[in-house]
């Protein structure tokens, strides 16, 4: 017990230290690395809080994809870094910002400590109604049944984000391929990994999706894993990012949401409400939504990391 407390204490100190370091370090590449470490440590914290679903997502998104995004961004911004640093506000505004941020954080901490204990929770209600969904994982039941509209709208948020990124495309490259053409040594380490890992990654992703019904896991974690595998293959030069004008690509991007909406509306005549599942069919329908969403999420996330098109579509 005390050992656990010691571990938690060290984890908290480490998270805070990495956070402060990430914010204060002057080199943005170093900050990107700090951010990745911070994400992984947070994932550990979620594990300690027994929120394994959140931990998996944090590790995949916060520690994984977002860090790739950060590091790629810092590498690209290298050229302008000196100029940006020169334009950094002086010590006084920085001190004021730190004071403001610090006092909000301290105030929050005080309020959180004063929250009722035990916290009011909907867990008993979820437990009472989970049987209707046929699922074993309460998180999946909340995300796809009780609060399905949030999950549906979140899927739309991802699509909006991609549209926003694509808006940044230079007009002459519209419809072209995102990112540079990666060329690496076909016999090198990266190419080797990019051949070795994807088959394993795909199997693990399908497994994570499938067990998500009853155990921690689900479409988001699985989709992130798939995205990572695809990105690996692209960055190793084994395959190319598709031109964003391809209709099949657009179809894959919206497939998850379309399936979700179709099943949601089918619920109106069959189960009495939008986003309700007919009795006895909840689990297969939820798995269908999860499977379609996994594909859409994988493609959307990978394209978000790759960024707007940077070259014409040469067939």
């Amino acid at each position: 017990m005390n050992l656990a407390l010691l571990f938690d204490g060290m984890l908290v100190v480490l998270i805070l230290a990495v956070a402060v370091w990430t914010v204060t370090v002057r080199d943005s590449f170093a900050a990107g690395i700090g951010y990745a470490v911070y994400g992984l440590l947070l994932a550990l914290a979620w594990v300690r809080l027994a929120a394994v679903d959140a931990a998996l997502t944090e590790a995949a998104i916060g520690g994984g994809l977002t860090s790739v995004l950060m590091i790629r961004a810092t590498v690209r911004l290298r050229a302008g870094e000196a100029a940006a640093r020169a334009a950094t506000p002086g010590p006084l505004p920085r001190l004021l910002a730190a004071l403001l941020g610090g006092s909000v954080a301290a105030g929050l901490a005080l309020v959180v400590l004063a929250l009722p204990d035990p916290a009011p929770t909907l867990a008993p209600q979820v437990a009472e109604h989970i049987a209707t969904t046929g699922l074993g994982n309460a998180v999946t039941a909340v995300l796809l049944s009780f609060r399905a509209i949030d999950t549906l709208l979140e899927a739309v948020v991802l699509i909006y984000a991609l549209i926003a990124v694509w808006t940044l495309t230079p007009d002459r490259f519209w419809g072209g391929r995102p990112g540079p053409k990666y060329e690496t040594d076909p016999n090198g380490m990266l190419a080797y990994l990019a051949r070795l890992l994807p088959p394993i990654g795909i199997v693990v992703a399908v497994y994570v999706l499938w067990v998500g019904a009853d155990l921690p896991g689900g479409k988001f974690q699985a989709g992130t894993l798939l995205a990572a595998m695809w990105l690996l293959a692209i960055m190793a030069g084994l395959t190319e990012a598709p031109p964003i004008s391809r209709r099949w690509l657009r179809g894959v991007l919206v497939a998850g949401t379309v399936v979700f909406l179709a099943i949601g509306f089918a619920g109106v005549p069959l189960a009495g409400a939008f986003l309700a599942y007919p009795e006895g069919f909840a689990k297969p329908l939820i798995v269908a939504i999860e499977a379609a969403s996994m594909l859409s999420i994988a493609f959307t996330l990978a394209l978000l990391v790759l960024g707007p098109p940077e070259r014409r579509d040469q067939a």
């Binding site: 105030g107 929050l108 005080l110 309020v111 959180v112 004063a114 929250l115 009722p116 916290a119 009011p120 929770t121 909907l122 209600q125 979820v126 109604h129 049944s145 009780f146 609060r147 399905a148 509209i149 949030d150 709208l153 979140e154 739309v156 948020v157 699509i159 909006y160 984000a161 549209i163 926003a164 694509w166 808006t167 940044l168 495309t169 230079p170 007009d171 519209w174 419809g175 004008s245 209709r247 657009r250 179809g251 991007l253 919206v254 949401t257 379309v258 909406l261 619920g267 109106v268 189960a271 009495g272 409400a273 939008f274 986003l275 309700a276 599942y277």
Partner: protein
């Protein structure tokens, strides 16, 4: 107080399915526009928006006939486990306003955002129509969601739809403006989210109606109110968090500016109303209301004075938005004052919402009008507007009508709104807000007058237009401005739509 009715389990009401259709239709539009691509994006928008207008009209009619809030239990689950969609009078009015303005913007932008012949898909038109649908879906979600987390998702949607509208034109300044807007929007989302988390931690529900019965004056609730309010103010661009708004307008196309100023900032403002009047009416202190309105007053004065000093018409209108946003926040101390005197707060609430609708319609018309002036002259320098009155008579009339609505001349919507707010201020003895409104009105009339006078000057030489603007585009702008100008006639309606579904704790036993 109203804990008892809130605790009764809610059920889906008649017409509840209209809410689902209204919420989902724009998203289906976005998906269709994205998949079909190219010039289909515009077709999808031109089809979906009129359909959405019909749906929101149906919601208004249903709400007026039944005189109650429309409710839909999603998945059949009642809160706190499930999520409901609700449309009270406030929501219904905003849904209708949004649909009307979007239709006007779509008709106006039809020619500007055409895919060039021979091209399958071009970035600018494809993005514009997709983002227009995207913005619409986000706003409908803001107006309909009954749950604080769903509203968070809606706010995220609103940000991701609004930011790219700023940088449709490929320039370094627009990119910088968009990034600044993004930073404010993200900061706002984070603060809002923190507040929502605190409320869930303290009360175990995120449903607005349930929270209203549970929230007590204690640190968690105060902290949540403060965080969420500041977050929403950043997104609403209330002074001094308005810094993103003028540069965002500077480089955005006219139609995009109309959507941003008229609608995008109203989404987060709507949530401030929800938060202050519906989620935590019991814990908002009069001092908090005064503080919020003080920022509003500062916005009115600073925004108007800076607007007067602008050289470009578009920037003048943008700073005028900064000022007009200020007016929206005067309703909070007035509503609190009326409630404290055991009077119904409807003059303040109706006045505040009417101000939002009036500004939305007037400002959309003015931005689009300025766009036509820019297209005709090739510039929008206020000093060189001479001759516009002859070249674009309908547009100038629209600008004058929209300006009168902002000033608050009868029978404009702005007149009725300000009259309601003024009477509430006098009833509650808060004379200082009367001073602010009068001074603000004078400053507003000064710059509207300057622009109209400049434009009415005739030039003998007759300047050759850079581009001849089709009459129907002028007509759209004029129609929207006229709507804004005639909005005050809403006072003659037999029902106060805004008040449908609002709790009336003090109504009984009063003369």
């Amino acid at each position: 107080m109203n804990a008892l009715p809130a605790m009764l389990p809610e059920t889906t009401t008649a017409g509840g399915f209209l809410l689902v259709l209204t919420l989902i239709l724009p998203f289906v539009g976005v998906l269709a526009a994205l998949t079909l691509g190219g010039r289909h994006a515009r077709r999808v928008a031109m089809l979906a928006i009129p359909l959405g207008l019909v749906l929101s009209l149906a919601i208004v009619v249903e709400a007026v006939q039944t005189e109650r809030t429309l409710v839909y239990l999603l998945g059949g689950w009642a809160p706190p486990l499930g999520i409901v969609l609700r449309a009270d009078g406030l929501s219904a009015v905003m849904l209708l306003t949004t649909a009307v303005i979007l239709l006007a913007v779509a008709l106006f932008a039809h020619a500007d955002f055409d895919t060039p012949p021979g091209t399958r898909e071009a970035r600018r038109p494809f993005m514009f129509w997709t983002l227009l649908l995207a913005m619409w879906g986000s706003l409908n979600a803001v107006f309909l969601a009954g749950d604080l987390f769903t509203l968070y998702v809606a706010l995220e949607l609103l940000g991701f739809a609004g930011v790219p509208l700023v940088c449709l034109d490929e320039r370094a300044e627009t990119l910088q403006a968009a990034l600044r807007y993004l930073l404010f929007a993200l900061l706002g989302s984070v603060l809002y989210m923190l507040g929502a988390v605190l409320l869930y931690g303290a009360y175990g529900t995120l449903d607005i109606a349930l929270l209203a019965g549970l929230v007590r004056p204690e640190p968690a609730a105060f902290a949540a109110a403060a965080l969420m309010t500041v977050g929403l103010l950043a997104k609403t661009a209330l002074f001094p968090l308005h810094l993103w708004l003028p540069p965002a307008h500077a480089g955005a196309p006219a139609a995009a500016s109309a959507v941003l100023s008229a609608l995008a900032v109203k989404g987060s403002f709507f949530l401030v109303i929800r938060l202050w009047l519906d989620v935590m009416p019991g814990i908002i202190t009069p001092a908090a209301g005064q503080l919020l309105a003080a920022f509003g007053a500062a916005a009115i004065l600073v925004g108007n004075v800076v607007a007067l000093r602008q050289k470009r018409l578009k920037m003048l209108i943008a700073y005028s938005t900064v000022a007009q946003i200020g007016y929206l926040f005067l309703m909070f101390p007035l509503a609190a004052g009326l409630s404290a005197m055991q009077l119904p707060n409807d003059p303040a609430v109706t006045g505040g919402l009417l101000q939002a609708v009036s500004h939305a319609t007037a400002k959309a018309a003015m931005f689009m009008g300025a766009g036509l002036i820019y297209a005709t002259l090739g510039h929008d320098r206020i000093a060189d507007l001479a001759g516009v009155g002859r070249q674009l008579p309908m547009t100038l009339l629209a600008f004058a009508l929209g300006g009168s609505a902002l000033v608050g001349l009868p029978p404009a919507g702005g007149f009725l709104a300000k009259w309601l707010l003024l009477s509430a201020a006098l009833t509650t003895g808060q004379w200082w807000w009367v001073v602010v409104m009068v001074v603000g009105g004078l400053l507003t009339s000064a710059y509207v007058f300057i622009v109209v006078m400049r434009a009415l000057v005739t030039v003998d030489a007759g300047n050759t237009p850079k581009m001849v603007v089709p009459r129907h585009r002028e007509a759209v702008v004029l129609a929207l401005a006229s709507l804004s100008f005639l909005l005050g006639l809403a006072a003659l309606l037999p029902v106060d739509i805004v008040q449908i579904g609002r709790p009336q704790p003090f109504a009984a036993g009063l003369p």
